[in-house]
Symmetry: C2
């Protein structure tokens, strides 16, 4: 073959260097890393070839791909105030940190506005070798991220219903609708018939799963939802939804919220309207955040073990990044934690 | 000078390569980067020299130091559950992300257990070129971090009382004791005389500042603290402290907490003991977290504008990292936000 020379406008590849020098790509790496058992003559020939082709191994990508960054990424496609507004992500990060911090790993957090921005971040991570792997959140219908990350060769795990079949394994509790189902049965058992649901954004997979669980649990008892209101998870939206519900002519006697933060806002809003919780209105949250235990009344909620899921995702990702970490199998399903904010339906 | 050769056990420096090849260090970089206007002969001599000395430019450190990582670090010396337990850090991160996310920057979060671990993280960041700069939290007496970061050449800003004199500028609201002082005056104005303080860890600078503000505001009115109880900021500690206070023979009529999370726990604990808030006990928090607005009663708190401080710290650090960011001057001081959880002292 003829010896190629540097062509402007196109980065040469290590394969071309290897082919031109008549060695393996590993030998090219060794020549630059000063490793392996290359003769001085071979090493020099490889370096000369690399110089002639304009290939250099010292781009951050090449350099970093060969070494661990001890950094995992968490890219969250939410408004920048999501951490302040929704403690769910704090819990998730707490769970991940429990595995990362003792191993000296850092967590690289990126908040992005949309799908294109999120994909661009992964492209950059891969190109620049910034992270060893990524945890994906908010699984969506027709999610394009697993294919992208597989193509980029970036280890990843997804948070969601457990699934090991795709290129990106999914980590989470099974039966994701089980918590809402149990909450509805709990309320029906307490005599409630007018039960409303303050949900998250309609486009999220878990919103759809839980809404389906909510509706089918009611249907099984011959009931229909009093109302299902979608929100952006913000506290303001939770307050507005609660006001709309409790001001309704034939108001609900119980409201289930898609997260604890919204449930706490809803509880305060109902109390401010003069409604006793749970005497006049039962309130059920979702996430089992620490704060719910200390409120008065203590918050009835669904424990989906966010911290444990975060820890399990981190462990699986660490293992896929080559760390010697035993994989932890997450047992169980979301469970209702019945406390004081739910009680018998008012007569 | 005699031509040195590779010595085992010690990494050669780019300076040694340059000296041995009779060129500048910039020329050495150019030889490997295929940039600049080196003759082929010079380039080859430099590469040969580098090979002989065992120097290679493709260590992540060298590669990354020459390019921006678009990553800022936040190292927090707290237990791994701090994010879940104390929304303060979520607010801080939210404020930083408001500046970082639109610019495509990520935030590298490291939770560390102690001072040695924290310093080791900065050493590693600098050695491996992982971040462009770092935001330091929890300023301490005799803080060794500014000197370390200056030595490492890593841009940094500290969160704390505004101070531009040291190697690491400090960003925050001035008069950090002003919020607690205002809270105490507010309570005294409402007729309270038995006022307790549930503080943070004694070793933190802001704990000492605020405690001093608390005590001197009482002293100015001829009063002494009912009690000052230190905690680790955890919710469990807040509950225990509140129980101890309200079970005291001559219990306080008002409690000031060092953060909102503890205040919410304290409020619930008092209510559970049958005390009305604020009829029997006034409660004042600190941080003005979003949730406090929606509780019933709405939480009286001190607004220290955590998000704005986080944003200002991020902006200053971005500017110090070479980004074209106008510095934002933080105006004002912490301010009391009087809501419903504080009221006239019971007779």
């Amino acid at each position: 073959m003829s010896a190629p020379t540097a062509r402007p406008g196109r980065r040469p590849t290590i394969k071309e260097v290897a082919a031109s020098a008549g060695v393996s790509t590993a030998a090219v790496s060794q020549a630059f890393n000063h490793k392996g058992r290359l003769s001085e003559e071979t090493r020099r020939r490889i370096l000369d070839t690399a110089v002639r082709l304009g290939w250099s191994p010292n781009a951050p990508a090449a350099a970093l791909r060969s070494s661990r960054t001890r950094t995992l990424a968490l890219v969250v496609r939410r408004p920048t105030d999501v951490l302040g507004a929704d403690p769910h992500f704090s819990e998730l990060i707490t769970g991940m940190e429990a595995e990362l911090a003792p191993r000296g790993y850092g967590l690289l957090l990126h908040l992005v506005a949309g799908v294109h921005e999120e994909n661009a971040v992964y492209e950059r991570f891969a190109a620049e070798g910034r992270v060893d792997g990524a945890v994906l959140t908010d699984a969506r219908t027709d999610d394009t991220r697993p294919a992208l990350l597989a193509r980029l060769g970036l280890p990843a795990v997804m948070l969601g219903a457990p699934d090991r079949t795709g290129p990106v394994p999914s980590v989470g509790l099974g039966h994701q609708d089980a918590g809402v189902t149990e909450a509805v049965r709990h309320l029906i058992g307490l005599g409630h018939r007018r039960i409303a649901y303050v949900a998250g954004p309609a486009e999220l997979q878990h919103t759809r799963l839980r809404r389906a669980g909510f509706e089918s649990a009611l249907r099984a008892a011959g009931l229909r939802p009093f109302a299902v209101l979608h929100t952006d998870f913000s506290q303001g939206a939770a307050v507005a939804a609660t006001e709309a519900l409790v001001d309704a002519a034939d108001r609900p006697t119980a409201i289930v919220y898609a997260n604890d933060s919204m449930a706490v806002c809803g509880m305060g809003t109902a109390q401010r309207r003069g409604l006793g919780v749970p005497a006049d209105l039962s309130v059920v949250g979702y996430d089992n955040l620490p704060l719910g235990r200390w409120l008065h009344p203590r918050l009835t909620t669904v424990d989906q073990r966010v911290q444990q899921v975060g820890a399990a995702a981190a462990r699986l990702l660490l293992a896929r990044c080559g760390e010697d970490v035993a994989e932890e199998v997450l047992e169980g399903r979301p469970r209702l934690v019945a406390r004081e904010s739910s009680g018998p339906a008012p007569r």
